[in-house]
Amino acid sequence: MNSHAKPEKLIKGATGDFEVVIGLEVHAQVTSRAKLFSGAATEFGSEPNANVSLVDAAMPGMLPVINEECVAQAIRTGLGLNAKINLRSVFDRKNYFYPDLPQGYQISQYKSPIVGEGVVTVDVSPTEQIEVGIERLHLEQDAGKSLHDQSPTESFVDLNRSGVALMEIVSKPDMRSADEARAYVTKLRTILRYLGTCDGNMEQGSLRADVNVSVRRPGEPFGTRCEIKNVNSIRFIGQAIEVEARRQIGILEDGGKIDQETRLFDPVRGETRSMRSKEEAHDYRYFPDPDLLPLEFDQAYVDALAGYLPELPDAKKARFMKDYGLPAYDAGVLVADKETADYFEAAVKHGSKPRDPKLVANWVTGDVAAYANSLGLPVAQTHIAPAQIAGLVDLISDGTISGKIAKDVLAIVIGEDKDGDPRAIVEARGMRQVTDTGAIAAAVDAIISANPDKVAQAKAKPTMLGWFVGQVMKQTGGKANPQAVNELLKEKLGI
């Protein structure tokens, strides 16, 4: 796929264009109450070593027992990625020494992962969609955490994360720009959140990515890749790709060659640094974990899980476009966050009265989203209820208030009357739009007679109409129906 380089994606070097090739290994913490192979809790933010079982601490004679909920979550995720579910998979030991790895090996899946190939459709921009292939998804244990800042002479180990279930989701090298990589991770996170299989909180480390970057001249075979380890925000993923691609292009243009190695991204300095070369790479001595039988389940089990899968973003977007007549862009923005999409639907469906979904979408993705952003909250977590947005839209649609007044009503809902019913607010505060043409005509007449010079100008230059509209609205306290004002002015000014 993507065998022909897209010119707009290319990076200009001093000696010509380069194409960047990106593949991602995303580590997503499985949402589950207990760890992958022990009954210890997975709660974030506990006291160090509060959530550690005998198995997690690798006490002598302890044995892992698979947590079925983690298996179900991996299957759900595989289904959400349109991927092949392997009815038989095998856990392997990945052996290496590290103080925060109590067993001296990580239980992972090497040759036989639980999920095989799949595909994710990614919106790079309102007009550009790409497909990113999924190579595999496997289950593995997280390691603990070494704390080096507690004492000048000693390091401490916190095993709370030790044994927590991770899904490693490996993409194919299908991305060709930092934007595509960012959009892919964003989409992946959306899917995981819809499924409820990973909370996607990158700040808490629930989602991290190893980024594989290589560059090549358009049309050439893949270049040598470097792996940037453990990048923990979508913004940093983009930055890391950009600086790493530049670094590699620089080396190639100077006649050098890229060494396959593992690198770290330093967001403060905006550079990647070598962590270890291919020669220094660990020999993990993978072999099947003899403490665990192969993981086997039947198709009926997979089908049962598939039957309870929630509607996923792509399906929801398609439905919003079809059922509500929303443009692709609006639908895309709404479904990017499941709660926002639900919020929108609740507002559209509130009560028995039909209302314009596009108008609702405008408010949700416009003023409400802006307010939510100012608080750093998702739309659904603000105090503004979908019913209030429904009420507001109804008031506009039946001509009770103008769009401008509606903004004032929303400001009141945000501020002094948080639970207020928009219609009650409008009534109580006399914000009703004046549609009485008599009253509007009186105001129009007054303005015309007070400004004969402007009237003359307007006859020559019809865009002056806006000035008159403004004056009338001012005089009526903004409550005049703008449409009626426009019509009357045009008539009386003869334009």
Binding site: L54, A57, A58, M59, P60, G61, M62, L63, P64, V65, I66, R93, N95, F97, P99, P102, Q103, G104, Y105, S155, V157, D283, R285, Y286, F287, P290, D291, L292, L293
Partner: protein, 493 residues
């Protein structure tokens, strides 16, 4: 009168029930015997106070008619089983100071049934050895001596402390573990009965792991009936060990004494190895005659991949061990020898904490799993394992009910006699036993006679998966047919 410690487990159990003596009296007799037998070095840790307390509880239950199957029976526990609040060493310096806050499932099952713990028994370090000479706590001396000689002999290994303690009358039975023959070889060397049940029959939870796909718990006892009684209590499904099997545990004792008339006993021709001592060959032939006499039919069978079993075993077992022993790093428990950085701490701790044989096997295991060698060694060994399994399946599918072989290629040898120059010399001890672990089948060693020098010799029976009952029935026939092997004279008292 006979000493209390000379009774069989079954007799002691019945006498306790009839209140001929108390559990406390029985335990005191064993504590005294252990005191007198320190020279054997069978125990790493004695727990007399715990034993007295447990015995008192047994007496209390017996008194009110609530006796459990093993109430008041004093046992020794191989120090590979984690015991709550009681130091557990695996006979390794690296576990110095380690006191488990948990009890292994198998020992918990024994205590549930009323058994009394006398202490922790010596073994080869991490169960790696066939003579009990690799223990950090020193070798175990066999209670057996060659006729007219005082040369100290090995009790076999790795469950050398278990076998020696049972043979010397220090306990009625002992837990043991068997990865390549560690129950059956020491049982054969000491004239005791040892059964390695089917893989998955007993839980491995709480037993320090050597090679997870081969390790299995089992008892060593003074006769077949006692072994059957102990296995019934030890066995059972454990949700904490996913390789343990959820199948009901039969009343094994009921199969002791069952007729073997009409059973087909397989004799594998590949077990007739070069250089096998004539007395072993004769013992095997004698066993065949006993089988015939009891109404069984004899079938010559072929297990063609037998000769690859030992080399394949010495790839698979060290590979798993190298990974299982990675957790002993000086970070969380046991020995820590500091260093200037983390790597040095690992190196110092593991160099000081592991003995030579353990280090050798970790190195072998690390090597065979390394990139570039994995396919040549580990993968091929696993293929051989599959073929060995298939050999047995074919034999059993052809109607064989049990397979009779020698248990060991020789009688017990002297301390320091074997393996010091060439470890393979020691590894060859397992030649008849490893195939059983590789195939996951049950195997029992039962005393069948004595060598020219008066040392015990054993035969091995191999059964179908989860058919330990047939093994007990056939082993009992051998026990009944063979000349009585008395307990060794107490030269240490």
């Amino acid at each position: 009168m006979t000493e209390l410690t000379d009774l069989t487990l079954a007799d002691a159990r019945d006498a306790l029930a009839r209140k001929k003596f108390s559990a406390v009296e029985l335990t005191e007799a064993h504590i005294r015997a252990i005191e007198q037998a320190k020279v054997l070095n069978a125990f790493i840790l004695e727990t007399p106070e715990k034993a007295r307390a447990m015995a008192a509880q047994s007496d209390e239950r017996i008194a009110r008619g609530a006796a459990r199957p093993l109430d008041g029976i004093p046992l020794g526990i191989k120090d590979l089983y984690c015991t709550e609040g009681v130091a557990t060493t695996a006979a390794s310096r690296i576990l110095e100071g380690f006191v488990p806050p948990y009890e292994s499932t198998v020992t918990a099952n024994l205590w549930r049934d009323g058994a009394v713990m006398l202490g922790k028994l010596n073994l080869d370090e991490f169960a790696m050895g066939s003579s009990n000479e690799t223990s950090f706590y020193g070798p175990v001396i066999s209670p057996w001596r060659r006729a007219g000689a005082e040369t100290p002999l090995v009790p076999g290994g790795s469950s050398g402390g278990s076998a020696a303690a049972v043979a010397a009358g220090l306990c009625f039975g002992a837990t043991a573990t068997d990865t390549g023959g560690s129950i059956r070889q020491p049982a054969a060397f000491t004239g005791t009965v040892g059964i390695k049940p089917t893989y998955g029959r007993c839980s491995r939870w709480g037993i320090v792991a050597f090679a997870s796909s081969l390790d299995q718990a089992g008892p060593i006892a003074r006769n077949v009936r006692d072994a059957a009684i102990l296995l019934r209590s030890m066995a059972g499904h454990d949700p904490k060990d996913t390789t343990s099997v959820d199948a009901p545990v039969p009343d094994y004792e009921a199969s002791v004494g069952r007729s073997i008339k009409g059973l087909r006993i397989g004799i594998p021709k590949e077990y007739r190895i070069d250089g096998m001592p004539a007395e072993i060959e004769a013992l095997w032939q004698q066993g065949i005659e006993w089988m015939k006499a009891a109404g069984a039919t004899i079938a010559e069978i072929s297990l063609p991949h037998t000769r690859y079993a030992l080399p394949a075993y010495y790839i698979v077992a060290p590979a798993e061990a190298s990974s299982n022993l990675a957790r002993y790093d000086g970070v969380r428990y046991g020995l820590r020898v500091p260093g200037k950085d983390m790597v040095e701490l690992y190196e110092n701790t593991r160099a000081a904490g592991f003995g030579k044989e353990v280090r050798r096997r970790i190195l072998i295991g690390t090597y065979v799993l390394s990139a570039g060698y994995y396919d040549a060694y580990y993968v091929r060994a696993q293929k051989i394992r599959t073929l060995i399994k298939r050999d047995f399946e074919t034999a059993f599918a052809d109607g064989v009910d049990a397979i009779l072989t020698p248990a060991t290629p020789s009688a017990a040898f002297g301390l320091g006699e074997k393996g010091s120059a060439d470890p393979v010399e020691m590894y060859l001890n397992d030649i008849f036993t490893v195939t059983v672990n590789m195939a996951g089948l049950p195997g029992i060693a039962v005393p069948a006679g004595t060598s020219a020098e008066g040392l015990p010799l054993g035969l091995q029976l191999i059964g179908r998966a989860f058919d330990e009952e047939t093994l007990f029935a056939v082993a009992h026939v051998i026990e009944q047919s063979a000349p009585k092997v008395a307990l060794p004279p107490r030269w240490w008292v």
